[in-house]
């Protein structure tokens, strides 16, 4: 358009502005809800009882509670471990490896593996939780095929290794996303470039490190950004698989937040937890987005 407004757009401007109104209302509503969460976090609002109507401002009490009570700091630590191992390391590395390995694979093989990995991503969270609770159960697949044939006693994985189990289940569930994104990114790397590096004598590892990775850097950062943020606030799979237990071993921030808000009924304290989550996510997102904007 070179800065000039085309006659078509000039004619359609009015109707277009009107058409944007419903979506604008949705965005404003989201902002409004986020604002409400901030407001709640400074009150002692509760789900039921007297304080659900006659609530008071309590200043920073809820935020002080985040650090003086055990729940929040423990949940923050669990969430960090879960995000680091299942999303940043597990899904991203595995998805990238798979995308590299499947480049140039026969179409049949590629389809079979894509579909297998995709199934994990497609099944609903609760079904995945149900399946995994059985797969790692005392009469499940892993015990039947691996543990018992070696003459060992069946292991109750959910009780003994709760955090590794939810981490692996989430890698299983989420790798497809990273794989698809990297796969699309690798398709944009031209075959000639890779051929040229090979002719120049680069090893496969060198090709990936010095040619492919820099070329798909934007996709890499975008993917890390998205999976980090999704995993940081992930709820359903862990909640349905372990309920946060045993004890508080898998109590991530989202589970703590729902537990405090809707089971204990302290909506004010729960809101303070969500605000803390949003702030952390905001800082993480800012870090990644700066990486995206920086030209290299």
């Amino acid at each position: 358009m070179n800065g000039q407004i085309s006659p078509w757009l000039a004619a359609a401007r009015g109707p277009m502005l009107v058409a944007m109104l419903p979506a604008a209302a949705c965005v404003v509503a989201t902002l409004y809800l986020a604002g409400w969460a901030v407001m709640f976090s400074f009150t002692n609002l509760e789900l039921t009882g007297l304080r659900s109507i006659n609530w008071n401002w309590v200043g920073l009490d809820n935020y002080v509670r985040l650090f003086t009570r055990e729940g929040f700091l423990n949940a923050l630590w669990i969430t960090t471990l879960f995000t680091l191992f299942s999303a940043i390391i597990g899904q991203s590395v595995f998805g990238f490896g798979l995308a590299i390995a499947l480049r140039g694979a026969r179409l049949g093989l590629r389809n079979v593996i894509e579909i297998a990995v995709m199934l994990g991503w497609l099944v609903p969270d609760i079904v995945a939780a149900f399946m995994w609770s059985n797969t790692v159960g005392t009469t499940g697949l892993i015990n039947d095929l691996i543990v018992v044939p070696f003459g060992l006693k069946p292991i109750n994985f959910i009780n003994d290794y709760a955090l590794p189990v939810v981490t692996i289940a989430n890698i299983w569930k989420g790798t497809a996303w990273s794989y698809l994104l990297f796969s699309a990114a690798l398709d944009s790397v031209s075959r000639e470039v890779i051929e040229a590096t090979r002719v120049d004598g680069a090893s496969p590892a060198q090709t990936i490190r010095f040619v492919v990775l820099p070329m798909v850097r934007t996709h890499l950062v975008t993917n890390l950004l998205l999976v980090t943020i999704w995993t940081f606030g992930y709820f359903a799979l862990i909640f349905a698989l372990t309920g946060g237990g045993p004890g508080a071993q898998t109590e991530v921030l989202s589970i703590l937040m729902v537990h405090q808000s809707f089971e204990v009924g302290k909506l004010g304290y729960g809101s303070a937890i969500s605000i803390a989550m949003m702030l952390i996510v905001g800082v993480l997102a800012y870090g990644y987005l700066r990486q995206l904007k920086e030209p290299r």
């Binding site: 359609a12 058409a19 419903p22 297998a116 609903p124 709820f235 359903a236 989550m277």
Partner: protein, 271 residues
């Protein structure tokens, strides 16, 4: 470099092994669902029948299936309608502060679901919206930033020249939209519909907080509570229910697979 790996026999074998591990958790689900006498253990079925599936689609379970369908189709359709009406102008016009707006949407998209659930619940409660329409509206509102971004990026790839040509030929705004823009946008809109459908179909936290009675549960909440109530006894019912619940999201993916592969190119965050 990579060509040799996937084409070698060892590489192909390793990759097939990965695929086998990936689908292995499904083995128990499928084997138990087709076995009317299952006791929850992993075993070859003694008999094969569809009794479990009939159970999982009748009565309250059937109602929950319909609830999920209303919720997912309603949310996806409403989202796509509202989002494309705004994403198209966003892609075509230069509004003041547009870049800020788009980055704002990116940030909104990143809010964790748990972050807004308390005020969402509270607002819905006060508006008497703790029901199906309330859920559809709430999920549409919360999913809007993502749908807007995806569709805006998609419309950016649709050339404006065709519309301008149609305008110069004397087509009206509605004719241009109906005859030029809509046909060209079908694949992008389908991708967004698919994403929204799947996420609404899979949604758990919001319906878990919103729906209060067994008959208003979508399947996610239905399966969760059923698992807690009689997880120890009716494995046949629960596994069949799980398969039925998984089917639509999987089916929609395969229907749209070709569109998806092109649509994924537009996922990147662009300012």
């Amino acid at each position: 470099m990579d060509r040799s790996f996937a084409r070698s026999r060892l590489g192909a074998l390793a990759l097939a092994f990965v695929a086998a591990i990936w689908v292995s958790p499904f083995a128990w689900l499928v084997l138990s669902a087709v076995d009317p006498e299952t006791n929850g253990q992993l075993r070859i079925p003694h008999a094969v029948g569809i009794g479990n599936f009939v159970l999982a689609l009748s009565g309250q379970a059937g109602q929950q299936f319909l609830n999920s369908l209303y919720l997912a189709v309603g949310t996806a359709t409403l989202t796509v309608l509202v989002a494309s009406m705004a994403a198209y102008p966003l892609s075509r016009m230069r509004l003041p502060g547009q870049t800020t707006l788009l980055w704002g949407l990116v940030l909104l998209r990143m809010l964790p679901e748990a972050g807004t659930i308390v005020p969402t619940f509270f607002a819905a409660k006060q508006l008497h919206g703790l029901n199906m329409p309330g859920m559809i509206v709430a999920m549409t509102v919360l999913g809007m930033p993502f749908a807007l971004l995806l569709l805006k990026n998609f419309f950016d790839t649709v050339p404006i020249e065709l519309e301008e040509a149609a305008y110069l030929e004397g087509a009206s705004i509605w004719q241009i939209l109906r005859l030029v823009v809509v046909p060209l946008s079908r694949s992008g809109v389908a991708v967004v519909w698919f994403f929204t459908f799947t996420s609404a179909w899979n949604a758990f936290l919001l319906p878990f907080i919103f729906a209060r009675t067994d008959t208003s549960f979508p399947m996610s909440v239905g399966l969760f509570t059923a698992f807690g109530e009689y997880g120890g006894i009716s494995y046949g019912f629960l596994t069949a229910y799980s398969l039925i619940y998984s089917l639509p999201a999987v089916a929609v993916y395969f229907l749209l697979r070709r569109n998806l592969n092109t649509g994924f190119a537009g996922v990147g965050v662009k300012g």
